[in-house]
């Protein structure tokens, strides 16, 4: 059996805080698009996905405060209980920060499974809150979004890492 499946670590440039902020705003925008019908159910929670990405890859840069505030914004925009997304996102951020070394040790495709589990847990927290508050179970399609989000993880990782890649040395032959 082979245990050295971890990908070769590359040395990346430091990430700019403005870039993190821009990706978070973009994720919020994607979440706010008027999704309806089938798309509504398979829509991944982009904010959760991007928060998780930064917590895993830059655990010192994105903290709980940002995740929590983004959660409150989602609560207002969605008309859900105030604090529902905030609680779920802070727990997600905690999981991301605590597990960041472990997740980074896997290859991109193996990371997908880890990410799906974390996002499903995120969904479960919100489901628990709403059912405690007297809501009905909306059906198992509620969890579809997290699987789609898991599939989006590899392209997202490659995309968000692009600005940090070192440029090939022009003097090099």
């Amino acid at each position: 059996m082979q245990f050295s499946a971890s990908p070769p670590q590359e040395i990346l440039l430091p990430v700019r805080p403005a870039f993190i902020a821009a990706t978070l705003v973009a994720a919020l925008l994607l979440n706010l698009l008027p999704w309806s019908g089938l798309l509504f159910w398979i829509k991944p929670d982009f904010v959760a996905l991007v928060v998780l990405y930064w917590c895993i890859h830059q655990p010192r840069k994105l903290g709980f405060t940002a995740a929590w505030l983004l959660g409150l914004m989602m609560d207002v925009a969605d008309g859900s209980l105030f604090g529902q997304h905030a609680l779920a996102y802070s727990i997600l951020a905690y999981a991301g920060i605590v597990l960041h070394r472990r997740v980074q040790g896997f290859t991109l495709t193996a990371q997908v499974l880890q990410v799906i589990m974390l996002l499903l847990f995120n969904d479960l927290i919100m489901l628990a809150i709403r059912m405690l508050a007297g809501g009905d179970f909306p059906g198992f399609q509620y969890f579809l979004g997290s699987f789609v989000a898991g599939l989006l993880w590899p392209p997202l990782s490659v995309m968000l890492k692009l600005p940090q890649r070192t440029r090939p040395d022009p003097d090099h032959v």
């Binding site: 008027p34 010192r60 929590w68 609560d75 925009a77 008309g79």
Partner: protein, 299 residues
């Protein structure tokens, strides 16, 4: 005091400590929001921050709609024009009858010294999007506190009632649809005037009449209109149609399912209805009220 080496890396409180702090904060918010309604002003602060993003996110759809409006063909415009002219002709007759009936009604009411029917004003609003909360049925419309929308006002489209404004932000408001679980509208059967209470079930397109005795006269196809006894919904607005009556003597009440008339899930324009009614004086409270603030759902 014991000597401590300077921390090499300053990291602040541990992740677990932070998690506890933020979870506690969220729980406080959740509890206050679910049990009491004290957090509306805090919600407003966040809504002002999110508002530009909401408008930007819904802009592409609006622009696409405008663009497709621009590229209509001449023939489709002509046929639509012809259809509308015909419709207007048909409506004119009804409208004239309505006018004469209205004046007649006013005279009769004066004769009987009955209270005048309240006047109804309405504000046109556009549906921005359906709220992405799978647990409730809500839509967001583009008029808010600044346009004199108030919590509790009914919302209708060109066919009938679709819901009620339940939360108002400075420039947006949330409308809870009648299909939402726990949304209640007092209704009346148009055929025989029987009053009842219509509640949403949480499922799309299914409403239920509650607490109807087994022998009550409800049939498939009965049209239901708002009864207006709540003082929230103006009387006589079409709302639903009975689709299924199940009388099982094992139960105390009949199980009556209805379907909403208005396009509850369609995008488009809606009217927010405001009636300036002076509600009759509330009867004096017999006992001291335990709670000063009651939830403002219609009842």
């Amino acid at each position: 005091m014991e000597y401590q080496p300077p921390p090499f890396f300053k990291t602040g409180p541990s992740p677990l400590a932070r998690l506890l702090i933020f979870s506690l904060l969220s729980f406080v918010l959740l509890f206050t929001d679910a049990r009491f309604k004290y957090l509306e002003s805090l919600r407003h602060v966040f809504s002002v921050a999110v508002y530009p993003l909401q408008r930007i996110a819904t802009a592409p759809l609006a622009i696409a709609n405008r663009a497709s409006e621009f590229f209509v063909t001449h023939s489709s415009l002509r046929s639509e024009n012809a259809r509308l002219t015909q419709q207007i002709l048909g409506n004119t007759i009804l409208l004239q009858q309505h006018k004469s009936l209205l004046t007649e009604n006013v005279h009769l009411r004066e004769l009987f010294d009955a209270r005048e029917r309240t006047k109804i004003h309405s504000t046109l609003a556009e549906i921005l999007y359906a709220a992405r909360d799978p647990f409730t049925r809500k839509i967001i419309i583009d008029k808010g506190f600044q346009q004199d929308i108030r919590s509790g006002q009914p919302v209708i489209d060109h066919i009938g009632v679709i819901g009620q404004v339940t939360r108002v932000y400075p420039w947006l408001s949330e409308v809870t649809l009648i299909t939402d679980k726990g949304q209640v509208v007092p209704v009346q059967n148009m055929r025989n005037g029987l009053r009842s209470i219509l509640t949403g079930t949480g499922a799309d397109g299914v409403l239920e009449l509650k607490f109807i005795p087994l022998n009550a006269d409800f049939k498939n196809g009965d049209q239901l209109v708002t009864s207006g006894i709540d003082g929230v919904y103006p009387p006589g607005l079409p709302i639903a149609e009975v689709t299924d009556v199940e009388r099982n003597s094992a139960y105390l009440f009949a199980r009556i399912r209805c379907k909403p008339l208005a396009g509850v899930n369609n995008y488009g324009q809606v009217l927010v209805v405001r009636q300036d009614s002076e509600a009759p004086e509330r009867p004096a409270e017999e006992t001291k009220p335990q709670r000063s603030k009651k939830p403002k759902r219609s009842g």
